[in-house]
């Protein structure tokens, strides 16, 4: 789902190998929501959805609108589509907004750079599980198999 090209007045060349749903604008929350449903329908459920990023929406919509959108789409994804993972940039939102987003999901995974620019990850919480929330180092594996 491409929410970027239309707003940058770029039109990506359609590729037969890659199906893209174009959303007209970051402000068009309804369009984003329906594109997610259409993509899930086309791929066949269950699907894994990666939403990159919720933070971008805050530049174009009110917190109140995004909160309701977030709540509705999370519920739709869990009920009918499968699994959804939202990315949020830390440090650009009010603490209250971050708390609200945290409260609306089942789990939070945090990632950070250390002072020496090493990557670390931890599970902040995960509904239904006792988690060890200590920070762990990780590296990004190169090559076609990739992974962390």
């Amino acid at each position: 789902m491409d929410c970027y090209s239309a707003t940058s007045s770029e039109r990506p060349e359609p590729s037969p190998a890659k199906k893209t749903l174009l959303v007209s604008s970051f402000s068009n929350l309804e369009g984003i929501g329906m594109a997610m449903s259409k993509a899930a329908q086309e791929l066949g459920t269950p699907v894994r959805i990666y939403f990159y990023t919720i933070s971008a929406l805050f530049l174009h919509n009110s917190t109140q609108a995004i909160s309701k959108f977030f709540q509705i789409m999370t519920s739709r994804a869990k009920m009918n589509m499968g699994f959804i993972l939202y990315a949020v940039q830390d440090g650009v939102h009010e603490p209250m907004t971050m708390n609200l987003l945290r409260s609306l999901v089942d789990g939070v995974v945090e990632m950070r750079f250390t002072e020496t620019m090493e990557r670390e990850v931890r599970i902040h919480h995960m509904r239904g599980f006792q988690v060890d929330s200590a920070w762990r180092s990780f590296v990004q594996m190169p090559g076609p198999t990739g992974g962390l």
Binding site: A6, S9, L29, A40, N61, M73
Partner: protein, 394 residues
């Protein structure tokens, strides 16, 4: 640019015949439609169908778009087929947001100013005197400006549009307003068109419901709809059941109604199901015929789930089968709309419809239609009656 139109009396077609019939030709001129949902839906399809339908009929249509660049909007509308481009006028509210040149005559230069937005729309209404106006979408304003200001400008646009005999569609998904503001908005509207989208079994199901504000007006049931290329929004029934006792003519009904039909049978008797797709008066329907014999009742029960409506086929010359037919109706459930097809009504000994109704002990007013499936007589009429019952306009 085209010459401004005179205010014309009469109605503005919805583009959906079965609704137009009930509305006396469409929405009355100088009326306001609120296209509303509180969750994401495909209400834009309805608005686009409405807009393009206007342009296709030679009416001037004004479309205010807060989300799409004009090139993207016009590209999206190609799905609806050809229409006179000079009859479709866009108010471009996004080029200035993206800081790109706008090719449109009517463009909003400053989207951070509510009065600038309203003045541009009002100027376009005054100069073009459009027959149809679509504002896509009001939540863009609701999310950016104080509520009282938005409601004030909303009202001004309604008044200006009404003054030129225009039918206005306001698209609105409610992200931020409370019940009190919603009541005000509904009170400013003549028709409330509610939308909902749900996903069942991985398939998106869309439906809408039309309510004429004020007492005694039109109020439909939830109407399922889909999008059809080159046409737009079409009423869509995903499952109409054709059922009835053995040898009543169910497979013939399916084959006669459908443009394409398949049947899974053995020696001419349906042993699994018949299937066909019907397109009729702005309605698209998938029809499923069930076997009539009791030993196939398990198949009947599978197909009887989540049906929109039922065509119950009985052989009008065989009243001894009516009890079985009545039992099949009971299995489906009394809340599902149905029409009884008194089939083979051309044969000697066929009972007239009132006697069929009487012998089946049907509730008063239950529709019974005389049909001859082999000659495709009465079938389309029966399906239209069923469609009106499902939609809630009969």
């Amino acid at each position: 640019m085209q010459a401004p139109e005179e205010i014309r009396p009469g109605r503005v077609s919805t583009g959906i015949q079965v609704l137009d019939d009930r509305l006396g030709g469409g929405f009355p001129r100088s009326s306001t439609l609120l296209l509303f949902s509180d969750k994401p839906t495909e209400k834009r399809l309805f608005a686009e169908t409405f807009a393009v339908q206007g342009a296709k009929s030679g009416e001037t249509t004004l479309y205010v778009d807060f989300y799409r660049l004009p090139s993207l909007a016009r590209n999206d509308l190609l799905r609806f087929g050809n229409f006179p481009k000079d009859r479709f006028v866009l108010v471009d509210a996004i080029s200035s947001q993206l800081m790109v040149e706008s090719p449109e005559k009517y463009r909003i230069e400053d989207v951070s100013s509510l009065s600038s937005i309203a003045e541009t729309v009002l100027r376009a209404i005054e100069e073009l005197r459009p027959s149809r106006l679509v504002i896509d979408s009001m939540e863009f304003l609701a999310d950016r400006f104080p509520k009282d200001d938005v409601l004030r400008e909303w009202k001004r646009i309604i008044e200006a549009a009404k003054a030129v005999g225009c039918v206005t569609c306001f698209l609105f998904i409610n992200w931020t307003y409370h019940e009190r503001e919603l009541q005000v908005i509904q009170a400013m509207s003549d028709f409330l068109v509610e939308f909902r989208s749900s996903m069942r079994g991985g398939i998106i199901r869309n439906s809408m419901r039309i309510t004429e504000m004020g007492s005694g007006g039109l109020k439909t049931n939830w109407i399922p709809y889909t999008f059809k290329d080159l046409i737009g929004v079409t009423v869509y029934f995903p499952r109409i059941l054709v059922t009835g006792p053995f040898n009543a003519g169910k497979s013939t009904v399916v084959r006669s109604l459908a443009e394409r039909a398949i049947s899974i049978d053995r020696l001419g008797t349906t042993v699994a199901f018949d299937y066909g797709n019907v397109s009729l008066s702005g309605i698209e329907a998938e029809i499923f015929g069930t076997p009539g014999q009791e030993r196939f009742e398990f198949i009947f029960k599978i197909f009887a789930r989540e049906v929109s409506g039922v065509l119950l086929v009985v052989d009008a010359t065989r009243p001894e089968d009516f009890e079985r037919a009545k039992y099949m109706l009971e299995l489906i459930g009394e809340r599902i709309p149905y029409v009884v097809l008194a089939n083979k009504s051309d044969l000697p000994g066929a009972l007239p419809v009132d006697q069929v109704a009487h012998k089946m002990d049907l509730p008063e007013g239950s529709p019974v239609m005389p049909t001859v499936a082999t000659e495709n007589k009465g079938l389309r009429e029966a399906l239209l009656i069923l469609a009106e019952m499902i939609i809630g306009v009969r």
